[in-house]
């Protein structure tokens, strides 16, 4: 095959001249009628066969081709009077204002024009206000526009004929000065004297079931134009009074305007008889339902499904639970061979109703047949090697699973099917993170690859196990969550388990090989955890509370397992397992850890209750003391401020200093109370356990529940809005006291005072608004960025280049690092050294 490489040198956009319109036309449209009595397109009508054929059996006289082969050709309508093209009204107006009404030269002398450094916009703005032509000294009136398509000069209306004749007199040189190329776009071409009629194939009529024909909106509009145009012709030729001609002319202008654009604010839209607006040329192209976004950028697919998602921690990470009714609808094509003949026959025998069955049968000659009770027998007769069937989705089939917005590659991953009862897609809660999914009503899409190639591609590139490491920072997007973390944390921290129970637990998570389990009657939790690790695993990490976690030869020797080792985003052990044992075995191990954690928690029982937030009298006293102390401090600051003794902080005025100092005191108070709470709650407090292990919540949450919510911040500082000089009318004007500026003394459990509640709702509403407004904004920002950067790639020489080979960066990221092989963009040399040392 010989390739011809061509590059686009230049593109010229221009206007169609009247000549051009006639030249490219194959016929002249003169009658609004479409078909004759026999239903054959009328010659000179809008469906003239010379403009293409859309009926089977007819032959296009222009190219001799039939339906589908004939691309269609333009025709034209000769307009009785010229008409303004609505899309060029602005340009026409600008040109009218820039040229002399008498001599049609630019309203500026050559010298002045050459000397001025104005751009075209500025130039036009200047020319608009010139009152006298410098060439012929004729007084100039500013042309006004009467929307949508009339031009008025000195209170007299300029007809399109007048405008056109003015434009015709403008010299080519003058046009070039305005950046208009007279070869491709003479301004008088913006006034239409002939209207091109698009090919029939662009406005095909549809035949309804009743045999009636329903014409395209464009055809309707064009026939309006032809009808009025003919009437205008007749009236002019009959010498009708000027008013009648003018009226018809305006009507013609209206029809042509709406033919181009039916959604102009100043023009009432043309409507169907039913009342719905016609979809004309502009509407065909523009906006979401237009050609670009609807047909070119957005396409529809078959073999896909969508429902809401619900969690199922019992299925594997790389599985997706598919409802039975979905599985009966989605199919996989499978060819009949010598080896699967009997296997596939069963699907046909089951039919489309009984699962697992098949919906369609493709015979040897490629005919598609639906499998029903009636056709089943015949199909079974035809059933032979080489045919293929579309069978129902089965367990283990490869599917592609997706949640919008698809912001990164982990938003579309490949899963294995698990057919489950119910009506929702089930997914393991651990893969919520990459999809950014939750179960408050989220829906997700499922696609079934139809060919062997597509399946292979999906499996190689998109499998869940290959997307554990995020390409954005090299951290793991998949890890264990919530209960699994709590469970493993408890297990490895203090649990002691009898051997029998340990075996029971391990067996229930699918482990039947207990050779890894340490011997002895009573086992430590660490030993149970070690039982699921591979024997050759060595690992040194740190726990969430910065203690060492040491695994040597598959035994957890020291430390607890928590979010820092097995959690999402920065689970060091997860990454290690993935790196050492590969994608497949790695995810199996992570899965085991996950199930172990859940199982432990299930057996032990774990409840977080209100009494978790109870504080001892001692702590309550302490907090009270601290509160009084800080309140006095704040009062002192305010006092100093009032007496003018306050020393200003660098770079701040008086008010700023006071605010900063007070805020600092209040924040210290909150932190201190947090510490008090933290030091005085029991280790076995479930809420604390969750916070410690990193499963959910933090100490601030606990402190806010049990002791004090603290200062409500809005924007930079404290709440400072509402009435004149005060937030609420209960306070004194200009009061700087903590309680009047949104400080909440109480905890959520004690309950808030009405005033405190009010402040809390202020910040609550503020942050709600903020997220609601920010999400679409940042989403669009990201979309633009992604589109701009989408075809950049790193070449073999480490340079970052765009699609045309232009260099963007000489070394990717200046350091040439593959981010997915780093930890948060960095290489942790210290850790590596430590591990190598420990292994030697």
């Amino acid at each position: 095959m010989k390739y011809i490489y061509k590059k686009v040198g230049s593109i010229t956009f221009g206007l169609l001249s009247s000549e051009m319109i006639r030249k490219m036309a194959v016929c002249k449209v003169v009658t609004p009628e479409l078909y004759d009595k026999e239903g054959y397109p009328v010659d000179g009508g809008l469906m003239d066969v010379r403009m293409g054929v859309i009926d089977p059996g007819l032959v296009c006289p222009t190219d001799g081709k039939k339906l589908r082969d004939c691309p269609g050709y333009f025709g034209y309508i000769e307009l009785a009077r010229p008409v303004v093209h609505i899309k060029y009204v602005d340009v026409i107006l600008a040109i009218l204002r820039s040229f002399c009404s008498e001599c049609n030269k630019i309203l500026m002398t050559e010298e002045k024009l050459g000397a001025s450094k104005l751009n075209k916009k500025e130039l036009m703005a200047k020319l608009r206000n010139i009152k006298k032509c410098p060439h012929c000294q004729v007084k100039q009136y500013t042309v006004k526009i009467e929307k949508p398509t009339s031009f008025v000069e000195n209170d007299r209306r300029l007809s399109p004929i007048q405008v056109k004749s003015r434009f015709e007199k403008i010299s080519d040189d003058d046009l070039r000065k305005f950046g208009i190329d007279p070869q491709s776009a003479r301004p008088e071409w913006m006034i239409l004297t002939d209207l091109p009629v698009p090919p029939v194939t662009t406005r095909p009529s549809i035949t309804l079931e009743t045999g009636e024909r329903s014409e395209d909106d464009l055809t309707h509009k064009l026939s309006d134009i032809v009808r009025i145009n003919q009437r205008l012709f007749e009236n002019i030729n009959a010498g009708a009074p000027e008013i009648i001609v003018e009226d018809l002319w305006d009507l013609l202008q209206y029809h042509i305007t709406t033919y181009f654009d039916n959604s102009i604010s100043s023009v009432p839209p043309a409507r169907h008889r039913g009342g719905q607006p016609l979809k004309t040329l502009t509407e065909r192209i523009k906006s979401k339902e237009g050609r670009f976004r609807h047909n070119l950028a957005g396409k529809r697919v078959n073999f896909s499904a969508r429902t809401f998602i619900t969690p199922d921690p019992r299925i594997k990470f790389n599985e997706v639970g598919v409802p039975l009714i979905v599985a009966k609808e989605l199919t996989v094509p499978e060819r009949v061979t010598e080896w699967n003949l009997n296997y596939l026959k069963k699907f046909v025998e089951n039919g489309s109703e009984i699962y697992p069955g098949a919906n369609y049968f493709f015979s040897l000659d490629g005919k598609k047949k639906k499998i029903t009770e009636d056709t089943k027998e015949q199909i079974l007769e035809e059933f032979q090697i080489g045919c293929y069937i579309e069978r129902h989705l089965l367990d283990g089939d490869t599917v592609v699973f997706n949640r919008q917005p698809s912001l990164h590659r982990m938003s579309i991953m490949c899963h294995k099917v698990r057919i489950l009862p119910g009506k929702s897609f089930r997914l393991n809660p651990s893969v919520c993170n990459p999809y950014n999914a939750d179960f408050d009503g989220d829906e997700m899409n499922l696609h079934v690859p139809q060919t062997e190639e597509a399946r292979a591609e999906a499996e190689i590139l998109m499998e869940v196990e290959n997307h554990i490491i995020s390409p954005k920072n090299g951290l793991n997007v998949i890890g264990t969550t919530t209960d699994a973390i709590t469970g493993n944390f408890l297990l490895t921290k203090y649990m002691k388990i009898s051997r029998e129970e340990a075996v029971d637990i391990l067996y229930s998570i699918g482990i039947s090989d207990f050779s890894n389990l340490k011997s002895g009657k009573i086992l430590e939790g660490k030993d149970v955890f070690s039982a699921i690790l591979p024997k050759d695993l060595s690992f040194i990490g740190t726990s969430k509370e910065k203690h060492d976690v040491i695994i040597k030869n598959g035994k957890l020797i020291e430390g607890v397992i928590d979010k820092a080792t097995i959690g999402e985003d920065n689970g060091t052990l997860i990454r290690r397992l993935h790196a050492v044992y590969g994608a497949e075995e790695g995810i199996e191990l992570i899965n085991k850890i996950f199930r172990l954690g859940v199982e432990i928690l299930l057996r032990k029982g774990f409840t977080s209750s209100i009494s978790d937030t109870d504080l001892s009298k001692d702590v309550i006293m302490k907090n009270k003391e601290k509160l009084i102390y800080v309140e006095n401090k704040v009062n002192e600051i305010i006092e100093e401020h009032k007496t003018g003794k306050l020393e200003l902080l660098p770079g701040m005025d008086e008010y700023g200093t006071v605010e900063t100092l007070i805020l600092r005191q209040l924040n210290q108070l909150r932190d201190k109370i947090g510490e008090n709470v933290y030091e005085n709650v029991s280790e076995n407090n479930p809420t604390i356990i969750m916070a410690r292990s990193g499963a959910k919540g933090n100490f601030l949450n606990l402190a806010q529940m049990s002791a004090m919510v603290g200062q409500q911040a809005m924007g930079e500082g404290r709440i400072n809005m509402g009435y004149k000089g005060r937030t609420l009318s209960t306070f004194k004007r200009n009061s700087l006291s903590p309680e009047s500026r949104g400080f909440i003394k109480n905890g959520y459990k004690q309950g808030l005072t009405p005033v405190e509640f009010f402040f809390h709702s202020i910040t609550g509403r503020d942050s709600l608004m903020d997220t609601a407004l920010r999400t679409p904004k940042s989403g669009y920002l990201y979309r633009r960025l992604a589109n701009a950067l989408q075809d950049m790639r790193i070449e073999y020489d480490n340079t970052l280049r765009d699609a045309s080979g232009k260099i963007i960066q000489f070394k990717f990221g200046d350091d040439g690092l593959d981010v997915s092989k780093t930890e948060g963009g960095k290489i942790n040399v210290q850790r590596i050294v430590r591990e190598v040392k420990a292994n030697v």
């Binding site: 020489d797 340079t799 280049r801 045309s804 080979g805 232009k806 260099i807 963007i808 000489f810 070394k811 990221g813 200046d814 350091d815 690092l817």
Partner: protein, 72 residues
């Protein structure tokens, strides 16, 4: 101005170096990033169209990073 710490070092490459760079990255001048001839940072170098300017920036990750731009 060129002595300001925020302005990285700009240097005009001689012919030999130019060839070397173009060969190293296997690119034509068209594929390199561009710099305007009247860019304030290279005024003192008396650049001509087609010259290649080497910019040595300090980078937090690699210390020094080299960048090449062609004068247009």
């Amino acid at each position: 101005m060129m002595k300001h710490i925020l302005i990285p070092e700009h240097r005009k490459l001689n012919e030999e170096e130019t060839k070397e760079i173009l060969k190293k990255y296997n690119v034509s001048r068209k594929q390199l990033p561009r710099i305007k001839i009247n860019d304030a940072a290279i005024l003192e170098l008396n650049p001509e169209k087609g010259d290649i300017i080497e910019i040595i920036r300090s980078s937090p990750t690699t210390g020094k990073s080299y960048f090449y731009r062609v004068v247009v």
